[in-house]
Amino acid sequence: MKVRVYVSLKPGVLDPQGRAIHHALEGLGFAGVNDVRAGKLIELDVDDGVTDAALDEMCRKLLANMVVENFRIERVAA
């Protein structure tokens, strides 16, 4: 089964990459963009028996740095 893990910076954590992307969008002439935050999408292919608790632990132990990042787990229907 496919699992998507979205890792994003916690609110309030400065995101220089997001700011640079925002600046570049403005440079391309796109108006109306108020803010940009860059994160990561990590796709896992796991056995059906892998529990939500195990996925949560994977995120806390490695995939996200809980000091500055949040994560969201999404199981993708086959």
Binding site: L14, P16, V67
Partner: protein
């Protein structure tokens, strides 16, 4: 001088491990053990462990993230808990935060760019094993070379670091957006130091200065006397 047993850990992608080993050997007179990331154990009776700069595991996922979960880091964490001094420089600092041996995180530089130049620092703590040879408030010149040196932690953590005198070095000029100008911090027991600037690159005049040498001299003097 009595025995000084140190070790330098090399991860895949470390590139300052040799500089670190040279600094330790020049100052202590004894070549450090060289340890590989996949080793499960450190040499016995170590006095000092150094995690060098570089781009371990290509900075995959986050700088230092993979290295912090490598087999040798379990042994380093155990040694640190026992009180063995651990110095992490640059990527070594990132590894220490990722491993949870130091609080906070090193984020992308606020100016986006990689910064590689000599930087003025102020020595904030002269009571630690690593900094006893400096004078309080001393300005020193040490190079930085990093993309992710922007120290970040919540206000409570920052206040605690400041209140407990655990900010070892502060940037004396803008560098990377680091919270409160923090360039290096100590753990609560004072035996683990992480810093972005490279003291091992300032140990003899041919390198442009010797301000980094004092750090190694402080540690060697403190440990050999003990």
């Amino acid at each position: 001088m009595s025995e000084f047993r140190s070790a330098v850990v090399t991860f895949p992608g470390s590139n300052c491990d040799r500089d670190m080993a040279v600094a330790l050997e020049k100052v202590s007179g004894q070549a450090p053990f060289r340890v590989w990331h996949g080793d499960a154990e450190l040499p016995e009776r170590l006095d000092f462990i150094a995690l060098p700069g570089g781009f371990s595991y290509g900075d995959y996922l986050r700088s230092g993230a993979m290295a912090a979960r490598s087999p040798i880091m379990r042994a380093v964490a155990q040694a640190a808990t026992r009180g063995v001094p651990v110095l992490g420089v640059c990527n070594g600092f990132q590894v220490l935060t990722e491993a949870g041996l130091l609080p906070g995180a090193l984020m992308r530089n606020s100016g986006i760019r990689f910064v590689c130049r000599d930087i003025a620092l102020t020595v904030e703590n002269t009571q630690s094993l690593f900094t006893s040879g400096y004078e309080a408030g001393q300005r020193i010149l040490v190079p930085v070379a990093h993309h992710d040196g922007n120290y970040s932690a919540d206000d409570a953590t920052l206040d605690r670091l400041e209140g407990e005198g655990r900010v070892a070095f502060r940037y004396a000029e803008p560098v990377n957006g680091s919270a409160r100008g923090i360039a290096g911090i100590l753990n609560d027991a004072g035996n683990v130091l992480g810093m972005m600037p490279h003291p091992e690159r300032m140990i003899e005049p041919a390198q442009g200065g010797t301000d980094g040498r004092t750090l190694f001299e402080s540690a060697v003097r403190g440990l050999v006397r003990a």
